[in-house]
Symmetry: C2
Subunit: 238 residues, 2 copies
């Protein structure tokens, strides 16, 4: 199932890319960089709070999408935080909740992100994320990555979340490109599966050396960090 | 948010029920009754395998539904098992996988189920579950609950999973009832939220005394076990 970087060239020599689109949370920005502030507010519970918060955040995007009761990612993230605190029996007062939510606007990029994106500066780069427009612009600005992306696209424009094809469909529509010419990069396997099912060329960033999910769709290529990406995509460019 | 059994009468005196519909997995049947066979095959890993298997089973139903790539619950359950074994580094040979899958056809009902359903024998009872028709009939037969339910409805008829409203909509269509006259009972909070959003009267069976999810919809009533159900629904019946 897995394709390592060494043999992607022969397998994907037919792919011709015109733009590279990145997922944000978990791919460019480390959602667990909130752990330190979680630990400050709830000593020894930081890692657990960060973990349950993220699990429920994703779960709520899928459930609300399926129920047909969309709320934007800020509201979903806040609901997930409320649940996580209740689940772990942590008394989260409004001011603490506000500090934790604020941390989501200043997530740290993974260490290799800036250098890896610099190496891709010749290509049109974009973001496609579940995050609301305000959240995405804040986190990009906070990481000093303004100007790197020609477009920042939020699922909020489709009022549904990934992996609905309606979200991925925002990219070709807004960029005026055929979907087969779009390379999509995510650390979330289910996001890669959704993008592949939709019709993008896909790259899974598997930092944790985790097994891939069994969803019937596999990434075109797998890398361990974004640093490998420039070499991977170079021969695929039109 | 929560309504305990003591004050449901005043709050829900306007509800008039004509049928009671049960979720199957986690509500009538204990999905973690596979733990003992998991432990036989993989000593000391039974609980972890059962847990990851269930988490991924649910996740894959939501993801495949959102992706628009439905596979039936037997296939999703098998995919989740394959992932869980890989994640936990357990070598699951085909014969072992077959034994574990077979266990899903013979899940144990929760201890109070038979008695609680007997106390409701005067009312039309049905099942609405993600399970395929074959899986549901097997597990009902294995638990000797044939004849208890006037209808066993599978999400397979809608080719999408809960909490999509298209699944809940199978019930009024097949029973010829208005959705407001249907009481829906589930131990899965997200299932209750989906059913409530669709328009059913809902009861959450909170055996684990867990916090409810933050999905914008709350159950009409909460019980700790199905034993309490007969007293709860009696005054709501037409």
């Amino acid at each position: 199932m897995l394709t390592n970087v060494m043999d992607y060239r022969s397998k994907f020599s037919n792919s011709q890319l015109k733009a590279l689109v990145f997922d944000a949370y978990g791919t460019l920005f480390d959602v667990h960089s909130v752990t330190s502030i979680c630990d400050q507010l709830f000593p020894e519970h930081g890692a657990a709070l960060s973990r349950v918060w993220r699990v429920k955040q994703l779960e709520y995007t899928w459930l609300r999408s399926l129920m047909g009761h969309y709320k934007d990612f800020w509201q979903v993230t806040e609901s997930a935080l409320v649940y996580a605190c209740r689940d772990l029996n942590l008394p989260c007062r409004p001011a603490m909740c506000a500090r934790l939510m604020d941390a989501y606007l200043h997530l740290e990029p993974y260490p290799e992100v800036r250098h890896a994106l610099n190496a891709l500066a010749d290509y049109p780069l974009a973001i496609l994320s579940n995050g609301s427009s305000r959240m995405l612009h804040s986190v990009v600005e906070s990481a000093k990555l303004q100007g790197v992306f020609s477009l920042i696209i939020s699922a909020d424009e489709a009022k549904i979340y990934k992996p609905s094809p309606r979200v991925y469909d925002l990219v070709p529509r807004k960029m005026g490109l055929d979907k087969a010419a779009i390379g999509f990069v995510s650390s979330n396997y289910w996001d890669v599966a959704g993008a592949r099912a939709y019709g993008f060329w896909t790259c899974w960033v598997n930092r944790a050396n985790a097994p891939g999910d069994e969803l019937g769709f596999t990434p075109d290529v797998i890398v361990n960090t974004l640093t490998e990406l420039a070499n991977v995509v170079k021969p695929l460019w039109i």
